[in-house]
Amino acid sequence: MRCPIETQENAELLLSYSARKLNPESTAILEAHMEVCPQCREFRDGQRTLWEALDQWEARPISADFNRRLYRKIEEQEQLGWWDRIFGAGRPMILRPALPLAATACIVLVAGLMIDNPGRVAAPMAENPQVREVEQVERTLEDMEMLRQFNLVSAPVTEEGEGARSM
């Protein structure tokens, strides 16, 4: 075997060996080489000392409120995201005069549509009762099939034979 120390490309063999990740076959070959190569033996011993020293470096537990702080940041971001981008102090200069114009145009458009189509908003009131009944039956059957396959509402009978209690 060519000495791994001399061929840097093969030095990973020694690294893997030190970390106990080398396959059994390569391990046997390397250990046989180490019997005759003091440099490789020295590498192995030095690397093991290093691993042991690094093993002692334990990290401290994470703060108990880490998750809470993260979720708060996420929530803040979600709430301020679009507002902050569009209306915040840091919004691009080009938006500043364009925004009032765009807002005016939108309001005029919406107001115009609402004046012209008073009936559209009230459409749900005219829902067909037959359609509602069909939907209700479908929903009922879905729920009943779900409850037949997944009993979500009653506890199982205990070994003592007590009756099931419902939730």
């Binding site: 005069p97 009922t140 879905e142 729920d143 997944f150 509402v153």
Partner: protein, 171 residues
């Protein structure tokens, strides 16, 4: 120039708000239908089953005619099946409807996802749920968070079982 633009925005905003206000006053919620998940809708469910049971064959045909043709046979089959269930099973929808709306919707979401699973996976999840159902809550949570559970079910399946188990939870 910009000052006049801002003023026009304010005026138009006021106009829009007043228009919105007029429309909302004439806006009543639809009557006659209990929103999904509210208490009382369980009685409607029970009423549907009971009504079907009391119908003559002709009335049943008339009732089924309201549904799309491809659904009629399945609906009849399901209604007849539920007619023959023991009382404690027939009362489940009513009990279910007494759960908080968010729990009912949680169960329905999980059910919708369950229906999309491959057919060979569905019995596994049913069995697992039945297993979870028999456990005390703490044991159930431990099971759901175990490596064995995570290795046995993919993320979607875990989510389904977690949602169903959440309905059983006392919280």
């Amino acid at each position: 120039m910009y000052r006049s633009l801002y003023l026009s925005v304010v005026v138009l905003l006021g106009l829009a708000v007043s228009l919105l206000g007029q429309h909302s006053m004439g806006h009543a919620p639809p009557k006659g239908s209990a929103p999904a998940g509210t208490p009382g809708s369980g009685k409607n469910k029970q009423a549907i089953i009971d009504r079907w049971n009391r119908m003559s064959p002709e009335e049943q045909q008339k009732f089924l005619a309201k549904f799309p043709p491809d659904r009629r046979a399945k609906i009849a089959e399901q209604l007849n099946h539920f007619k023959n269930l023991p009382p404690e099973e027939r009362s489940r929808p009513q009990t279910f409807s007494q759960l908080p709306p968010e729990k009912q919707n949680q169960a329905r979401r999980a059910w919708a996802q369950f229906g999309k699973l491959p057919k060979d996976r569905q019995p596994l999840l049913r069995d697992e749920f039945e297993n979870l159902r028999t456990m005390p809550e703490a044991q159930r949570n431990a099971r759901i968070n175990s490596d064995e559970f995570r290795n046995k079910y993919n993320a979607n399946e875990q989510s389904i079982l977690r949602d169903f188990s959440g309905v059983l939870s006392s919280k």
